[in-house]
Symmetry: C2
Subunit: 199 residues, 2 copies
């Protein structure tokens, strides 16, 4: 025997295919699974199958959901004329945590990133244009990350959306609440100054 049993090798390969897991880690994880009680290993396996089977994207906002329409799109109390555009599903959770936004979302599932070979057709831009084209959207709030790619994606989208007669806005830049001024970087301070408001 020069190798591990075939089923163990196969499991190691599966772990090694996951992003950020090298071959040594994959082996360690496979051994860990072998050491689990039967029912825990089965729980793990069925969690994979269940997640894959039940979690879909909402046909309207593209957010992940296990329902026909996601709870936010299905909520008549929310303002469906204001769409907040975010890059990832986790950004929706971050926004909802603020308990301030009463509109709906659109999840792009990525940002335009030529370096990573992600073009406009690789993220859910077409679906957003379709939504806006169907009318009664008043405002689109860009809430992509304040980094180069998030900015570029927001700029790209705003150029497409403005001719459609919709107001396009961007989350305000500024110093984070609770932070200390001395640690704020120059660009953030510059944006905070530019966006200063009367009190």
């Amino acid at each position: 025997m020069r190798n591990f049993p075939a089923a163990l090798e196969r499991l190691t390969e599966q772990f090694a295919r996951l992003p950020g897991i090298g071959s040594k880690s994959a082996q360690r994880l496979a051994f860990h699974v072998l050491s689990l009680p039967d029912e825990q290993a089965e729980e793990f396996a069925s969690a994979i199958v269940d997640a894959k089977k039940t979690v879909k994207t909402c046909p309207v906002c593209q957010n992940l959901t296990d329902q026909e329409l996601c709870p936010i799109c299905a909520d008549p109390e929310r303002d469906h004329s204001v769409i907040c555009v975010v890059a990832e599903p986790k950004d929706v959770i971050a926004m909802e945590r603020a308990r301030e936004f009463g509109g709906v979302y659109h999840v792009l599932h990525g940002v335009i990133s030529p370096l990573n070979h992600v073009g406009p057709d690789d993220i859910r831009i077409r679906e957003l244009l379709l939504r806006v084209g169907q009318g009664d959207v008043q405002e689109i709030i860009m809430a992509t990350n304040p980094d180069t790619e998030g900015e570029a994606t927001a700029m790209y989208l705003s150029r497409l959306l403005r001719p459609m007669g919709v107001k396009v806005t961007r989350l305000a830049y500024g110093i984070p609440v609770g932070s200390q001024l001395e640690y704020a970087d120059e660009v953030t301070l510059l944006r905070a100054l530019e966006g200063r408001q009367e009190i």
Copy 2:
């Protein structure tokens, strides 16, 4: 909706239980699984179940196997009177790579480590003593790692085994072949000097 769909949360939890995977990595891995084609996700799930179902420990040497008896223990060409004791299944593979050892193995599945709450009863020592007690074992070669815990485990075992009338040896210490003397640590050099051989 303040959270991800339940099935996604469950999958994230499963990944977070794996050793060395934090909650952020777990989320990343869960999202990755969602992005896989259906058949790849199912392959992953069945690799877990299959490995768990088919991989057992050999009743003689305790190494992992998908057969009744592991191929090495089942091989009549090997010398069953010489047992090489290793800590982990991967050490068997390393030893076999040298294509030199013609005896059989015993896999402890760990080393004694009071700091990690691993005592003599937590590794496969009882099984080794049973094997030796059943007779016709001539020599036990200790091949645990040359670190503190590996050493201590080898010492502990040799003290148990010697009274049973079996020869207990240890892999030689010395400078690794292909290495450079200037990078060898003092302890290794000391051991290499002590173990010097006539040429």
